[in-house]
């Protein structure tokens, strides 16, 4: 191949080497800037009294007034409490059950059953919340749900107006979230457990250690990095909720808001239903800032405890 000979490291040669690569990244970069970074600047909306006739840039600054309005409402307390409490429950339950199921699955001797269990726990994760909402409705529909029509009568109980009474939903939503989400963490723990050197267990058996001791002294310490990483990520996201879970499954029923309204649904309803841009954007900024601080904080904590497991 004939080429004009250039000094190695010359500008032209460097350009020839790197320019095509930057060109490759250009479409993706443009999308990320548009989709992710520009909305970050859009957070100024929360500090303005948005008047669309003036446009966003021309609207007046109102400082923290939107935030004052937001936190003066009872809603602010309710959505914060709900968001955090649900997430704490989710984290604890998914952690405990995820590890438990992972240990069981890894220990099952029958290979075919092992595969069945692995597929089974992952399966609900693949469904959309809309479908999950339909399934929950099939169980709890007040007129013809299987619970009211078949299960409660078996115990001689009267039907319950599930979609009208807020008090049942923390239990329902925690159960649904675990049903749907435990497979994700479980899979990660399964692969972590798979990486443990079997000689540890053999040595422990020789020493007469029972199953429980083995789990406590070998399995858990060995998968600790995965546990920390996952839990850290989850805690960082404690201010965020699965919008589908809290909007679709309760079918957006107003009577359940006291136990099903979270920050994400509040922002959505404030924006789309009431057109209240001020409050919903304030809630959104509140969520983003606090959420970000929590990620930084939890990462800092982990750095102190075990440096190599921190995200950054």
């Amino acid at each position: 191949m004939e080429k004009a000979v250039k000094r190695p490291g010359s500008r032209a040669e460097k350009l020839k080497k790197w320019l095509p690569l930057y060109l490759m990244m250009l479409p993706g970069a443009i999308y990320i800037i548009i989709n992710n970074y520009i909305p970050m600047f859009g957070m100024v909306i929360a500090f303005k009294q948005v008047d669309f006739s003036k446009g966003i840039l021309g609207s007046d600054w109102v400082g923290l007034k939107n935030f004052e309005f937001l936190f003066a409402t009872e809603d602010a307390m309710v959505i914060t409490r709900n968001t955090i409490l649900y997430n704490l429950a989710f984290i604890v339950l998914n952690l405990f059950l995820g590890i438990l199921f992972a240990i069981f699955i890894c220990d099952v001797a029958n290979k075919r059953l092992k595969k069945v269990y692995q597929s089974a726990i992952l399966f609900p994760f693949l469904m959309s919340m809309v479908i999950v909402g339909y399934i929950v409705y099939a169980f709890f529909s007040m007129q013809n749900g299987i619970v009211n029509k078949s299960i409660l009568p078996m115990f001689g109980q009267e039907p319950i107006f599930w979609y009208n009474e807020a008090k049942y939903w923390p239990a329902i939503l925690v159960f649904v979230n675990t049903w749907k989400g435990v497979g994700y963490g479980c899979l990660i723990y399964i692969s972590a457990i798979g990486g443990i050197d079997p000689t540890y267990y053999e040595a422990a058996e020789l020493d007469g250690a029972g199953k429980l001791k083995q789990i406590w002294h070998i399995t858990l310490p060995c998968i600790l990095p995965s546990i920390i990483t996952l839990t850290l990520l989850n805690i960082g996201r404690i201010f965020y909720s699965d919008f589908g879970l809290f909007y679709q499954v309760p079918r957006d029923s107003g009577m359940l808001y006291s136990t099903t309204n979270v920050i994400d649904t509040y922002v959505y309803r404030g924006l789309m239903r009431q057109g209240n841009i001020g409050m919903s954007s304030a809630a959104g900024v509140y969520q983003s800032i606090v959420g970000f601080c929590l990620v930084l904080l939890s990462n800092l904590v982990v750095r102190k405890v075990s440096r190599e497991n921190a995200l950054f």
Binding site: K3, W18, P20, L21, Y22, M24, M25, P27, G28, A29, Y31, I34, N35, P39, M40, G42, M43, I45, F104, I105, D107, V108, L113, Q118, S119, A120, F123, L126, M127, S128, V130, I131, Y134, I135, A138, F139, Q143, N144, I146, N148, K149, S150, L187, I188, S191, A192, I193, P198, K211, G244, Q248, L271, I277, S280, S281, G284, S288, G291, F292, F312
Partner: protein, 298 residues
């Protein structure tokens, strides 16, 4: 880990069998109610063993389910196009990022990673996409927001490209004078196929299941509904009916009574998840692998 302790095996299996049952039963209920005769459904409620079977729901879909067919087609189109673009953009972005001596590599990686930590929220996103980019009531509103490219996919792919494709291959290609695009096409893509299939699986599933883009951006042009949007709309309509049946004009009631019957709703839901059920055994391997890869710090 080989553990022949009988009691423990029994315990593990019993627990996991219960779990499997709790996973399978709800979907069985869904399917059963789609083949239950409509009046039985209303009388006896949802049940695992219908008193009367009927394929009427599915017959209805095939005969007069024009909206449903269109929604299904929309879902398929969106999933195919969206996934192809997502995988392409990801691959193109990740290859340069995988090269260890790319100038600005750390900065660009942080640029991508930061989006996982912090975002602007729904309000600015919505206002940007609908008022400034005008995607409301268009197919772009389903395709573009949030799903077209994601940092998770990029980091997974970059890690794979940089660890599983030996540097020596890149160097050899460069000595031979191959252009970067040539390297990408002939080395990276073929060798990167496993990870590309994995992120394709992630992306495809996300597009298939997405209902929020339709919820946010499609209000008037209901021809653009995907199956998930259709299912969502039916719930909204039913809730509206339930809460407003007293103070509604007869015209509105007639309009809203076009909501399909319960059995048909269940049939549509089942039809929406059927492709996932069918494809799942083949894709499970890639999906599971991707999840465990994602947990390893990139």
């Amino acid at each position: 880990m080989i553990k022949r302790n009988r009691g423990y095996q029994a315990l593990a299996n019993i627990v996991m069998l219960l779990v499997t049952l709790m996973v399978v039963l709800p979907f069985l209920l869904l399917f059963m109610s789609s083949i239950t005769e409509e009046n039985t459904l209303l009388l006896n409620g949802y049940s695992f063993i219908p008193a009367k079977f009927s394929l009427g729901a599915y017959e209805y879909i095939f005969r007069s389910g024009e909206k449903i067919f269109r929604a299904y087609g929309m879902t398929i189109l969106l999933t195919v196009v969206g996934t192809l673009v997502n995988v392409s953009l990801t691959a193109l972005f990740s290859y340069p990022l995988a090269l260890k001596d790319l100038p600005g590599r750390k900065v660009i990686t942080f640029f991508v990673f930061f989006t996982m930590l912090f975002n602007g929220g729904l309000v600015p996103s919505y206002i940007m996409w609908s008022s400034y980019l005008g995607v409301k009531d268009t197919v772009w509103g389903l395709l573009l927001p949030n799903l077209l490219l994601g940092s998770m996919n990029i980091l997974l792919t970059r890690t794979y490209f940089s660890t599983s494709i030996p540097d020596t291959l890149y160097e050899a290609a460069q000595i031979d004078g191959a252009s970067q695009f040539r390297v990408f096409r002939s080395i990276v893509l073929p060798l990167g196929k496993p990870i590309l299939v994995t992120i394709g699986t992630f992306s495809g599933l996300t597009y298939w299941n997405d209902w929020t883009n339709g919820l946010y951006y499609i209000s008037k042009n209901t021809d653009l509904y995907t199956i998930q949007n259709l299912l969502n709309k039916m719930v909204t309509d039913l809730q509206f009916l339930a809460q407003n049946s007293s103070n509604m004009s007869s015209d509105m009631a007639a309009e809203l009574s076009k909501v399909p019957s319960t059995g048909v709703q269940m049939a549509i839901a089942f039809v929406a998840i059927l492709p996932i059920i069918l494809v799942f055994p083949f894709l499970q391997k890639y999906y599971a692998k991707g999840i465990s890869l994602g947990a390893v710090k990139g």
